[in-house]
Every structure is written in C-alpha cells, then in structure tokens.
Symmetry: C2
Subunit: 81 residues, 2 copies
C-alpha cells in the first residue's frame, strides 16, 4: 500500500463518510516509525453508526490494504486539553 493510493482513495471516500449517518469526522495518520502503517480515525455518534449503518467503506478501499485492517472502537476516557 502506498501513501498516494491510500490517501487518494480516502479523499474519494471523504464525501461518502460526510454523508454517512452519525459520522462526525475523519483523519488519516501515517506512522513515523512504520511507514506502511496507516491509521484511519473516524468519529461516530454511536458505535452502531459504524458497525450497522455504514457498509460502503470496504468496497472503496479494500484493494488498498496489504492485509485485512485491524478495526478497533475507542471511547474517550479523558480529554486533557
């Protein structure tokens, strides 16, 4: 997976996320230490907005993944500043 292929596909997908139910934001980050590692941070109103309502993402970027992505849902425990 290259930066250009992934960020290009992500750019195409931005409008898809923007129109998705409960989607509040999207950011793609690249690891400084492991250049082939990308993390896509998507903010949702509810967990179900991602796991149930949203099904289109994988169709658009599935070909860009070297391996099936590890998906994890995080909950904000503390906002420092």
């Amino acid at each position: 997976m290259t930066l250009s292929s992934h960020s290009g596909a992500t750019t195409q997908a931005v409008s898809l996320f923007q129109g998705a139910k409960g989607c509040k934001g999207l950011e793609l980050q690249r690891s400084h230490e492991k250049l082939s590692r990308y993390r896509l941070f998507v903010q949702w109103e509810t967990l179900e907005n991602h796991t149930v309502d949203f099904q289109e993402w994988r169709k658009l970027v599935g070909h860009c993944f070297a391996a099936p992505p590890e998906v994890e849902h995080n909950i904000q425990a503390l906002k420092g500043f």
Copy 2:
C-alpha cells in the same frame, strides 16, 4: 491497570503536558473491544518535543502500565473533515 488508576494519573499529568514545550493537546481513549487497552494521544509541534524535550511522563505513570507501553509517532496524512 484500571481506568480509575490510569485516568487519575493522567489527570495529574495534564498540567505537566500543558506546560511542556510544544505540547498542543492530550486525550486518553479506551478500547471498546479490549478493555485493558488504553491509547494516549498527545499532539506535539515537533517529534523532538516528545523524544528530546519531554522526559517526565514515564516517572508519573510508569507504575500504571501492565507492560511497557508501545509508543508510536503519527503524522497526519489527510484531514477529511
């Protein structure tokens, strides 16, 4: 590691981060799937602000870690919205 012990220590550490050179923000997130996994997101002006200028964090929360934390530096590749 428990949420209370970690978030408590993180709360104590907030002022430390706020005063650190180049520190722009701090957020603690907890994994929904793996409850013992926490991710601390700290934003820095430069990589060196963390790796060189900042040395105090581990002294404050070292006792809260079940294992040595995995530290990774990420660079924003794309900001969708």
